[in-house]
């Protein structure tokens, strides 16, 4: 499916989501409450079949945390971006997508480690790179006067 | 004294008589023991140092490198320097090891190595022990060394060592069978178990030519099993550097590690020497029946040179294996022994018996 077809399809099937055309891919922002539902629908629907999670990124936006999923269909070779945003920056939490894409388990651990976004129902949510009690370095308000030299 | 480079029989005999003429029986025996002990110690130390050097150079040649070249001319003194370094290193005993067994393990390997060494015929008359059951003695003694490896693995209080020790236990005990059986094949050919007798039996032609097909099969099996017996690559899974870091000797340091290290190399030499003795005539020069002129030329080279030449040729063959092949897995090692080498060996013994009975050999 080309980007245009995909946009039409998504508009029809996910009326509540915000769908925009990014520089490369179609970007769809959904409500955290319907994340799992949307993701499994995207994966299972015969027209889209997004079965390969390329990349899972956590971004610290000024007012919230965003989790960005780059997904691809290995059958149709179309790619899109799925986005969710947490409600606020205090105690951010989002449902895990381990059930839908296996690899999300580890990428979610990375996001938890570096940004401190919790994933509900995640079976193994531990720090990945850093020690316990380190802080969340990719947050914009992270300060570490010892290790980070500002120029 | 009658020193003769071609035959030491008279020399050693006269030496023996001289001791007994000039001393009381007790003293003479003690001095002889000491002398033999010192000689063997020197042989083992020199062989160990030299073999390690050879291994490094040979390995470098296989890998298009130069090898040691800094200490001494062509790096000849490198191993001596390493040995001195090893002597000076601290002997670390990890916490919670079984101290007695931990310290005992390297000595078992070394002692077993000396015992095996004793049966080797270096030259006519130059042999520590000339049993009439030499082959039997050798295969019995050489299987003791597995106890040293098992003890080292067990007592080190390290899981890697334990895995290494258990692995080599399973491996050596299995391959003991092949070694003995391929030796038995040749014993059938020679008609004696005495090493001097075996060598003497090859005066007209070496056994590998005499016994053609079965002898060659026995040789291949013996080399494979011998490589496995000495824990060398591709059967070095007791150490298995990339899997178990260093296997059974992970926790050893200093000269205790050195003993394991030297032990490995000297054991390899012993296996090669036995192969050279049983299949290639030991110190016996290359003779072909009917070519007297050729045989006389060959006789000019002293037997002791022949012995070491043949042994080192086989040592290099074993090194060639190590530097060419990847390591086997534990189940494959056992498969190779029980499914391939053992049946081949059994078939080979029957073949050899038939050939000997029908005099179908040269």
């Amino acid at each position: 499916m080309t980007n245009e077809d995909l946009k039409i399809y998504l508009d029809q099937n996910f009326p509540e989501a915000t769908i925009t055309e990014g520089p490369q891919y179609i970007e769809m922002t959904v409500n955290p409450a319907v994340l799992i539902e949307t993701a499994s629908k995207l994966k299972k629907s015969t027209e889209t079949q997004f079965d390969y999670l390329i990349c899972l990124t956590g971004v610290d936006y000024p007012d919230c945390f965003g989790i960005i999923y780059h997904i691809e269909s290995t059958k149709f070779r179309h790619t899109m971006v799925l986005k969710v945003k947490t409600a606020d920056r205090i105690e951010p939490a989002i449902d895990t997508l381990t059930e839908v894409w296996q690899t999300a388990k580890y990428h979610e651990r990375e996001v938890y480690d570096l940004l401190g976004v919790k994933f509900n129902n995640h079976t193994d949510l531990r720090r990945l790179f850093l020690e316990d009690g380190w802080g969340f370095p990719l947050r914009k308000d992270y300060v570490d006067e010892v290790r980070i030299i500002q120029r | 004294m009658g020193f003769n480079l071609y035959d030491f029989t008279n020399f050693t005999h006269n030496l023996h008589l001289w001791f007994f003429e000039n001393m009381s029986t007790g003293w003479a025996t003690t001095v002889e023991w000491l002398l033999v002990g010192v000689i063997y110690l020197a042989i083992v130390a020199l062989l160990g140092l030299f073999l390690i050097y050879v291994e490094r150079k040979v390995c470098a040649a296989f890998q298009q490198r130069i090898g040691p070249n800094r200490v001494g001319p062509w790096g000849l003194i490198q191993t001596v320097a390493d040995f001195i370094k090893m002597m000076m290193k601290e002997l670390i005993t990890p916490r919670q090891v079984d101290r007695f067994l931990y310290n005992l393990a390297p000595y078992i390997i070394i002692v077993c190595m000396f015992l095996t060494m004793a049966a080797l015929p270096f030259a006519p008359g130059l042999q520590g022990l000339d049993f009439d059951i030499g082959v039997f003695y050798l295969s019995a003694i050489s299987s003791i060394s597995v106890i040293g490896i098992l003890l080292a693995g067990w007592s080190s209080n390290n899981k890697y060592s334990l895995i290494g020790g258990i692995r080599s236990g399973a491996q050596i005990i299995s391959y003991e069978l092949s070694i003995s059986m391929s030796l038995i094949t040749m014993v059938i050919m020679a008609g004696t178990m005495q090493f001097s007798g075996i060598v003497e039996g090859q005066r007209d032609l070496w056994f590998i030519f005499k016994g053609h097909i079965p002898a060659f099969i026995a040789f291949v099996v013996f080399i494979i099993a011998g490589t496995a017996e000495t824990n060398r690559g591709p059967f070095d899974l007791a150490e298995a550097e990339s899997e178990l870091t260093a296997g059974f000797h992970t926790e050893y340091s200093g000269i205790k590690f050195g003993l394991f290290y030297v032990g490995e190399f000297v054991n390899m030499f012993i296996i090669s020497a036995v192969a050279a003795t049983v299949f290639f005539g030991g110190w016996m020069p290359l003779h072909f029946p009917g070519f007297d002129a050729f045989n006389n030329v060959m006789d000019l080279i002293p037997p002791i040179v022949w012995f070491f030449l043949k042994s080192f040729a086989i040592v290099i063959l074993i090194m060639w294996f190590k530097w060419s092949f990847p390591r086997l897995r534990i189940d494959q090692i056992l498969t190779l022994e029980w499914k391939y080498l053992l049946p081949i060996n059994m078939f080979n013994i029957i073949l050899m018996t038939v050939i000997v009975l029908t005099k179908f050999h040269f």
Binding site: Y52, C55, V59, I68, F129 | Q64, S242, E243, T245, R327
Partner: protein, 377 residues
């Protein structure tokens, strides 16, 4: 005696115990500081838990305070065996965001370098894999041949591993006059030497016995775990970014995507060997046709990306590498994320090794071609 006999007959009475072994962070075959907590039963592997982060260097955090052309030299240090591809990913991402079209010459140079880098990476992997399997001579043969490529790199780039050759808008300097001749010499030499690799390892019965029929990864698992690169393609997961989302000069060349269906360790091994042949093919098609032209587009002194989110994928020697840049219109990126192939590949390890022996664990881990800085970033 009878008691022992009874115990042996009723094997349920035999007390077997699981035990765990720490493999790493200092272990010869983890190729870096990876720690695996391996649960064993005898020699059988029951479970593998990777612990990473020993050389986490915070590259993503560092990038947030650097300008775009300064980010590139950090990507060298992630997967140092595919440094050029990593550089290229960032450059392509920036160029796409700025909507700059680079000259054909740049595209050709980049592609040739990509493939040379891929060959050198696979050579190093082949050598290290040989060493993992116990064939230490392979290490030296692989390194010997890699040296030729590194010399080519050194002549043109001035560096051997951390190249930093790409800049947004092109490459740092033009190729060296000797470059084409040297590459052609290398191709000739390497075509002759590659069958030797086969004779030494791939055909060896010990090697095939050890690698065939173990460490299976199904297509479904490969997609679910996101195992890409030769590791994924050996399972039949067609994931070659060069083929499906072509970039640089890949649209201009004909090449095959190496696919296997077995999904075992040997398939992963052999896919890489075949990829080396395929890379040679690609270079041969390009090396004589490098078009004349500029080697870089002049960009502004301070590159500022328009506000937005950009993602660029390239195929490194390990797999699907991605750069995700969130820009807020300033000269520094707001957030940079590197999707490293090794990260996803590593976590598929557990599903592949269950039930096999320790020696297989090493073989399977080696066949994934892990580079630890790539995983830890």
């Amino acid at each position: 005696m009878s008691e022992i006999k009874e115990i042996l007959i009723n094997s349920d009475n035999l007390e077997t115990d699981e035990y765990s072994v720490n493999m790493g962070p200092q272990h010869p075959s983890t190729h870096g500081v990876l720690r695996l907590l391996v649960t064993l039963e005898g020699e059988k592997v029951l479970n593998v838990k990777p612990y990473i982060g020993y050389i986490h260097s915070g590259i993503e955090k560092m990038c947030e305070s650097l300008a775009y052309n300064q980010i590139i030299h950090l990507t060298d240090r992630m997967d140092y065996l595919s440094a050029h591809m990593n550089n290229e990913a960032v450059c392509l991402c920036v160029e796409n965001a700025l909507q700059v079209e680079v000259p054909d010459r740049v595209k050709y140079i980049r592609t040739i370098m990509d493939e040379l880098m891929r060959i050198s990476s696979h050579q190093l992997w082949w050598s290290a894999y040989g060493m993992d399997m116990g064939a230490q001579t392979a290490l030296f043969y692989g390194m010997r041949d890699r040296e030729m490529i590194l010399d080519i790199f050194e002549e043109t780039f001035g560096a051997r591993i951390t190249l930093n050759y790409n800049t947004p808008g092109g490459v740092m300097f033009d190729i060296h006059p000797n470059f084409q001749k040297r590459v052609k010499d290398f191709i000739k030499y390497f075509r002759k030497i590659l069958p030797e690799y086969d004779r030494l390892l791939s055909g060896n019965i010990i090697f095939t016995e050890r690698t065939k029929n173990n460490g299976f990864l199904t297509v479904e698992d490969a997609i679910a775990y996101g195992v890409t690169g030769p590791s994924g393609r050996a399972s039949g997961f067609s994931c070659d970014v060069r083929k499906h989302h072509p970039y640089s000069a890949y649209p201009f060349v004909k090449f095959n995507e190496i696919l296997a269906t077995e999904g075992d360790t040997y398939a992963r091994y052999y896919c890489r060997i075949l990829e080396m042949y395929e890379s040679l093919n690609i270079i041969e098609q390009l090396i004589d046709n490098i078009p004349e032209g500029d080697y870089a587009v002049k960009l502004k002194g301070v590159v500022k990306l328009p506000e937005g989110e950009y993602y660029q994928r390239v195929e490194t020697s390990k797999g699907d590498f991605g750069v995700f840049i969130v820009s807020d219109g300033k000269k520094n990126p707001y957030r940079v994320k590197f999707r490293s192939p090794g990260f996803s590949n590593l976590f598929a390890l557990n599903s592949m090794v269950k039930g096999y022996k320790i020696a297989d664990l090493i073989a399977i881990m080696g066949s994934l071609d892990l580079v630890i800085p790539d995983i830890d970033r």
